[in-house]
């Protein structure tokens, strides 16, 4: 039986016909076909390869795998980073490999190896050719070496160097021709060249000459000094030789300072001359000069006296004349002055009189005016008294009838006012009632257990708001509720809760999807999310479960606003999935807020009414 099963099991890859044959064979009851001996006699064919081959294949595959991984990690940074993070010592090995790769010695080795390989290939090719020639008895020519071989390139280089070297002597000859042309100086400036050089040489010469001249001058000066000194000495020696004759002059005394100075100078001159010594002629001349000077001074004195006498006489005559003239003029002036005095006195008297008259007139005017004013005042007073008296009389006569009329008028006016106020109040009150009714209707639609449109109520409220005064806030709030929302209505809280359960489920399913995940990521997320625990209540944390739990809590507490805020914190797919729910909840919250505002407005109005 076991044999049958084995055979049948081994027959998986048989064709149906074969299978039938096998089944027939093995389902037969006689077990003679396969005895133990026969089974043992059959050679044991080990299926599969030997262990050595298997190991070799495994190792090759592993080596190829590792090489591929390493190569890929050199190319892809992300892959490398992932491996470095997870495999210990991977970073170190990769760095070493990089160093090895960048290592120049390794490059050289690799280049050398390729070269050697090339040579071996060539060698083998020639050997093959030789062998085939021997066998066939033919000769095949060696193929041309490719131009890229090293030897040919070196031969080329040598040729090029030779070529380059040839023109060098030609260049050198040209250079040699040029060189002598530098030496001849420009011929058109004959003086310049030697001049230039001369100037260079002259400069020190000039300096030398100048120095020489200075020395000569000095020597000359010294000579001259010596000469002078000699002459002076000679003169000095000669001076005391002749006999001295001193000049004598008599000093002239006079009052004129000129004369005295002249005298002094003369004396000095004489003194000097006496010291130095002059011939005798000078004596005579000087004495003569002295005498003449004396004469001169006497003459001057005489002249002075004469002049004084003359001047005195002239002065006396003139003084007499002027005295006479002065006396005449004085008498004239006296008469003139007295006349003027009389005239001034008259004028003064006249003016005084005029001034007094004017003052009198002015005073008169002022007094008259005052009189007039007093009269007028008195007249008015009188009139007023008269009017008052008349009034009093009239009133007394009428006997209070006028007063009564006035009273009645006043009462009528107050009544009117009251009536108007009443009407206003009633109006206002009715409008407030209507507002209240409208708000209540809106609230009823809002609080209904299901979604209900409230556009009619909203329109009614808008109409009411238009007629009311101070209803700006109301109008704004009513305008803020869009038409579509009013037409469709707003979800109720139970509806939102139901929807939230569904949404939460979907969000959980999508919570484990990574960014830009594909099918598999989404599928994994769906499956694994079923293994996650659900949270409830006000749990802290920023993960999806916590957010969903908090939102649920707020929903149960009827705090829609907070719920919306919480759910808005979702990110990624969760946010996308929950968007519509958030929109619906927000709408409900906004309409609720609008209703609150309208409520408060209605409250305010009714308060201010009373």
């Amino acid at each position: 039986m076991n044999v049958n099963r084995l055979a049948l099991a081994g027959s998986k890859h048989l064709r149906p016909s074969q299978y039938r044959v096998m089944a027939q064979r093995f389902n037969s009851t006689d077990a003679q076909k396969l005895t133990a001996a026969e089974a043992a006699a059959r050679p044991v064919v080990k299926s599969g390869l030997r262990f050595r081959t298997k190991a070799f294949i495994t190792l090759t595959l592993i080596g190829a795998g590792v090489a591929g991984v390493v190569k890929h990690s050199f190319d892809d940074e992300q892959f490398r980073a992932l491996l470095e993070d997870n495999i210990p010592h991977y970073a170190h090995s990769l760095d070493k490999l990089e160093q090895l790769r960048d290592n120049e010695d390794v490059e050289k080795v690799i280049a050398g190896a390729t070269l050697v390989g090339g040579k071996i290939v060539d060698l083998s090719k020639t050997g093959y050719r030789a062998a085939s020639d021997l066998i066939n008895g033919t000769t095949t020519p060696a193929p041309e070496k490719p131009a890229t071989s090293v030897s040919s390139s070196t031969a080329q280089l040598v040729k090029k160097v030779q070529e380059l070297e040839q023109p060098k002597p030609a260049v050198a000859a040209a250079r040699a021709e040029y060189i002598p042309s530098e030496t001849p100086a420009p011929a058109f400036l004959p003086g310049a060249a030697p001049g230039k050089s001369a100037s260079h040489v002259e400069k020190p010469k000039i300096v030398e000459k100048v120095a020489k001249k200075v020395e000569e001058v000095k020597e000359k000066a010294v000579e001259i000094k010596d000469n002078i000194q000699e002459k002076i000495a000679v003169k000095k020696e000669e001076a005391p030789a002749p006999p001295k004759k001193l000049i004598k002059i008599a000093p002239i005394e006079s009052e004129e300072p000129v004369m005295s100075s002249l005298n002094a100078t003369l004396a000095q001159l004489v003194h000097i001359l006496n010291e130095n010594g002059i011939p005798e002629q000078g004596h005579e001349v000087f004495e003569k000069a002295n005498e003449e000077l004396k004469h001169l001074s006497e003459r001057v004195e005489a002249l002075k006296v004469e002049g004084e006498a003359q001047a005195a006489t002239v002065m006396a005559e003139l003084t007499e004349k002027y005295k006479r003239i002065v006396d005449e003029k004085e008498s004239d002036h006296e008469g003139h002055i007295s006349q003027l005095k009389r005239e001034l006195a008259d004028a003064f008297e006249q003016e005084k009189k005029d001034a007094i008259e004017r003052e009198l007139k002015i005073q008169q005017e002022i007094l008259r005016e005052e009189q007039k004013q007093e009269l007028i005042k008195y007249a008015m007073d009188m009139q007023r008294r008269w009017v008052r008296e008349v009034k009093v009389r009239v009133e007394n006569e009428r006997g209070g009838r006028l007063a009564r009329l006035d009273q009645i008028n006043l009462r009528l006016k107050t009544l009117e006012r009251q009536g108007v106020d009443n009407a206003d109040f009633l109006d206002q009150s009715s409008r407030t009632h209507q507002l209240w009714c409208g708000v209540k209707a809106l609230e009823k639609a809002y609080e209904a257990g299901e979604r209900r449109p409230f556009d009619r109520e909203l329109a009614r409220l808008k109409r009411l708001a238009e007629t009311e005064k101070d209803a700006e806030v109301l109008k704004v709030v009513l305008a803020a509720v869009p038409e579509s929302v009013a037409a469709q209505g707003v979800d109720s809280v139970p509806e939102l809760m139901d929807r939230f359960e569904y949404v939460a489920d979907k969000v959980r399913q999508a919570s484990l999807v990574p960014e830009n995940g594909g099918v598999l990521a989404h599928g994994m997320s769906v499956v694994l999310s079923k293994l996650m625990f659900k949270k409830h209540g006000l749990v802290p944390g920023n993960d999806v479960e916590a957010i969903l739990a908090r939102t649920e809590y707020y929903l149960v507490e009827n705090d829609l606003e907070q719920a919306v805020r919480e759910l808005n914190q979702l990110k990624g797919w969760g946010k996308r999935l929950a968007k519509d729910w958030i929109v619906a909840a927000r709408r409900r919250v906004e309409v609720g807020q609008a209703i609150d505002v309208i409520n408060t407005h209605a409250n305010l109005v009714s308060l201010t009414l009373a």
Binding site: D76, E77, Q78, A81, R499, Y502, V503, K506, V507, Q509, A510, N516, G517, G518, V519, A521, H522, W573, R576, L577, A578, K579, D580, W581
Partner: protein, 88 residues
């Protein structure tokens, strides 16, 4: 076509985006692998002398095509063969 797309976008409530994607994926898989299977059967019967491998190959091809369509549906930002170098 564009009208169809627009209405599709407007009609779905947002929480059912993923469900719809899964639906499309599933329908893709069924349709494409079915087509592959049928093509494979026909090919095997007519061309390949009743061997079994064309059927499986063709079904696999169909499944693969469906998978790539699904992948693009779930992740529209995916561009084939390019790598994101966003670390740099």
């Amino acid at each position: 076509m564009s009208a169809n797309n627009n209405t599709k976008a407007a009609n779905i409530p947002s929480e059912e985006i993923l469900s719809r994607k899964w639906d499309e994926c599933l329908s893709n898989v069924i349709v494409k692998s079915g087509i592959g299977l049928s093509v494979g059967i026909v090919a095997s019967a007519l061309v390949f002398k009743k061997r079994s491998w064309p059927i499986s190959v063709s079904t696999g091809l169909g499944l693969g095509y469906a998978l790539s369509q699904c992948e693009r549906n779930f992740n529209p930002t995916l561009v084939p063969v390019s790598k994101y170098q966003d670390k740099k």
